[in-house]
Structure formats: C-alpha cells, structure tokens
Amino acid sequence: MLEIPLITTENFITYALNGLSRGMIIFLVASGLSLIFGLIGLINFAHGAMLALGGYGTYVVIQATGNFWLGLVVSVLLVSLLGLALERKVLYWIYDEPLLGFLSTFGIGLVIEEALAVYFGSRSYTVQSPLSQSVEVLGVSYPSYRLFVILVGAAVALGVGLVLVKTRLGLEIHATANMQSTAEILGVDTARIYTITFVLGTALAALAGALTAPITSMYPTIGLDYITMAFLVIIVGGMGSFKGSFVVSMIVGQVIAFGWLVLSPTYVRILVFAAAMVFILYKPRGFFGKAEVHE
C-alpha cells in the first residue's frame, strides 16, 4: 500500500530545495561528463575520481588553512590542471577508439581512487561546512550552505550555458562536436577545443566534489556513487546536451526528494535507473539529444 502523507507548504518547499541542492550536484557532474562525451565521444570513467579529487583537495586545504573558500578554488584549479595533463599527454591519442578510451579512463579512475584510499584511508572525512546557519527562504528555514550549492549550480548552468550559446567558443565547441573535420577546414583548432572542453568538464566534476564535501563528507569511491547517476542523467537528457543534463538533473533531484514519501529511497534510485534503461533502449538520444554540445 502506498501511503502519501499530506504535504504542507513548508514541507513542500523544503523538499523541493532538497531536490534542487541534490540535483545541482548531479548536474555539475553530469554536465561535465556530457560535454566530454558529446564532444569527444569518450565515456570518461575517470570523471568520478576527479570529483573525489576535488573533494579531497578541498579537505586538505581546509586542514592546512581552515579556509573552505580557498580550498574550493585551489582544488578546482589543481584538478583542472590534472585534467589538462591527462588530456594532452594521455587521452588525445585514443580519441578514435571509444572502447580503449573507456577502459583507460576506467583504469585511471581506479588508480586515482586507490591512491586516495592509500593516502587517506577508506574511511570518510567530515568537511566542516563554511556556512553552518540556516536562513529563512520562502517562509522556511533552510541550511544556508545548501542554498549556496543551489546558487552555484544555477550560476554555472547559466554561465556555461551562455558560453555555449552566445560566444564564439561555444560555436567552435558545437562545430567540433558535430563535424570535427569540417571545423578544421574552417580554421578551428579542434585539438584546442578538445582540451578546453575536457578541462572544463573536469573542472565541473572537481567543483561538484568540492561543493558536496561539506554535505556528504569525503571518501575515495564517492565518485562512483555519483557517476552512475550522472551517466543515466545524460542518457535521458541526451548525450552531449547541456540543457538536457540540466533539466534531467533537476527532475531526478526532485524525484528523489519527493520519492521517499511513497517509496523507500533505495527503491526510488532503482526506479530512476530502470527508467534510464528503458530510455537507452527506446530513445537512446534522450529528450534533448541530437548529440549537440549546444543550447
């Protein structure tokens, strides 16, 4: 028997905000994954490890300086640099081989996660939240840090979205993703576009890791928990569609935030995965997908 408790307005708002904050983290992970997949066709299994690195980086800087904001910036930068090195030195020459790309990023992700486990141990680390108070929004009191996460997510969505649609860089990314060799003969340095996109995607993962650290704490395999969900989000949203990953992340966040009212959360997760499986079969390009890194 399903039992749907009456939801008061305040509860409704709280749940919706829960969904938004969860959805934003998923979105940050998924959008990076989706950019990389849409552009390069690479299933980047190391993406989850980048998230973990972002989180641990933040943790380490906080331990050293006590400053979360510094940690956020430094770790995102460092992980982006690592992404740069990875793309330039390792990945670029296997772009034509999706299977090899998948396997090598799988291996690289494994190495990063295990290295974290060796260095920090497998247990989880609590990361002190920089904003511990609650604030009043729409008549409910809500953790200010989670609101911050929602705002950052929204800002990134808007910012990256605008770059993709309005700027020349966005145009070049679109062109490279859709017809790489044509972009080349129009004078686009597609190798550079690949690098920029990979680094951007990696930075988004690191940002997600840094942002989620104070909420969920940090452990080496945290990426795996997010990456499965993120893959499924980009399938439903359409591989490579930035808009798609945003919309679907928001939906998934809300489904989880409200789903527990009728079904235990793990079953909600199972349902979300099952829905994604059906999507892969019947609408592999997703809602928004034309394999376009655009809009």
Binding site: H174, N178, I185, L186, G187
Partner: protein, 236 residues
C-alpha cells in the same frame, strides 16, 4: 609566375589502398587552375591532401614557400586558404549566419565581420533572406551557396572548390560562375575540381586531367577542350 602553392610527388592512402600516385601540381598567385576527371579518380582526395585532411600521405606541399605538409588542417587554413568541400558540410543545427561566423577566425574585428557577411548576402540574395534559418533545413542548392559563402567571408588568398556547381539549378550555376569570375579578377588564386569541364574552361588558366590517381594530362583551357582528351578521360 610566382609560386603560391606547389605539390610534389604526392601519394595518398585510405587505410591500405592508395588513391593518389606521384601527383605534382603548381599554382601561382592570380592563377585559376582546374582539376578534371571522372568519378572516383581522386580529385577530392587531392584537395583533402592539400589541407591534410586524410589518413596518410607522402610527398611535399609548399604554400608561400613554407613546407606545410605536416601542418594540421586549421593551421593551413589560417594561412589564408578557404575550402569548399564536396559534401558542403553545412552545420545543420546552426543558422546561416552562425555558419558564416564560424568560418571567420577571432582576429577579425566586428565591423569587418559584419561587412563580409553583408557581402555574401548581396552576392547570394537567397541566403540573406534565410539568414536565421537552420542550415539543415536549406535546400541543396542553398546549402551549396552557403558553402561557397562560408569560404568567401574569409577573404581567402587561395580558394579550393570541390565541384561547386554540383546539385545547383542551371540558373544558380550561372550565378556561381559569375561570382567566381569576379573573384578571380582580384589578387587570388583558385583551384577548382569539376566534372563539368565545359562550364569551367572559360574560367581557368590551366588545368590537369586526373585518371585513377595519376595526372595524365596538363595544359591550358584550349588544350583541354580537345575532343580526344574528353573522350579518353571524361566520357563514361
């Protein structure tokens, strides 16, 4: 005649199969050169080899005295070359305007950009009318115009055209020929690949005939209009 582009002993391959054999051609500034030959003889492959858009090749390509054989396509293009590919390769999801924008590198200032785009819209009125339409929804002929327009906005020194009249209605072909004529009066060189040799003979200074990947004939338009040569290399 100062050499703008010269190609020596070019061999090109797709996987294991060789498509071009020891091809050598040259092109000076202000030259209009044609490459002719039947289906599948290697004309497109030759153009692709010039900008390194091919799996594997040997031989040298020199442009303005620099050996560009190993450059990547965009580097060669940025030296002032524009390429109108055979398949047109219009971005279906981008608007006509965005397709044109894409071809202009970022060092061009906004005013110049605007001016060049407007130029294209005057040359092909039809495109002007459709400026915000998505490339994918244009008719075949319109796409061909856009492909040529996309080359013109870069104000190139060397224009590579692969079958620019293909798929165009006869009236549009006349337009295109006219535009090409106006182009070649400027300080430009043009390399045209065509099957439709008769349309191009009035336009070109020189031409090459290609047969299964080998240059088999070379000469001015008079020489190439020879019946015998046509029978031998062009009729099917």
């Amino acid at each position: 005649m100062s050499e703008l582009l010269s190609v020596e002993d070019l061999n090109a391959f797709y996987g294991d199969s060789q498509v071009l054999f020891d091809v050598s051609i040259g092109l000076g500034t202000n030259d209009v050169v044609g490459i002719f030959g039947r289906n599948g003889m290697g004309k497109t492959t030759l153009l692709n080899s010039l900008v390194n858009r091919i799996d594997r090749k040997t031989g040298t390509v020199t442009y303005r005295g620099q050996d560009v054989s190993a450059w990547s396509p965009h580097e060669i293009i940025r030296e002032g070359i524009a390429y109108v590919p055979e398949e047109r390769e219009i971005y279906p999801a981008l608007s006509v305007r965005e397709n044109l924008e894409l071809a202009m590198t970022s060092d061009i200032d906004d005013d110049t950009r605007e001016e060049r785009i407007q130029n294209v819209f005057t040359q092909f009125e039809r495109l002007g009318e459709r400026r915000n339409q998505r490339g994918g929804t244009l008719s075949g002929g319109e796409q061909q115009m856009l492909a040529i327009g996309r080359a013109l906005v870069t104000d190139p020194d060397l224009l590579l055209l692969d079958e620019p009249t293909e798929g165009l209605a006869p009236t549009i072909i006349d337009d295109v020929v006219e535009i090409l004529e106006s182009l070649v009066t400027g300080d430009r060189a043009v390399l045209i690949v065509e099957q439709n040799i008769n349309r191009m003979l009035p336009l070109i200074d020189r031409g090459y005939m290609i047969q299964t990947g080998r240059i088999v004939e070379e000469g001015d338009s008079e020489h190439l209009s020879d019946e015998e040569i046509h029978d031998k290399y062009l009729t099917v």
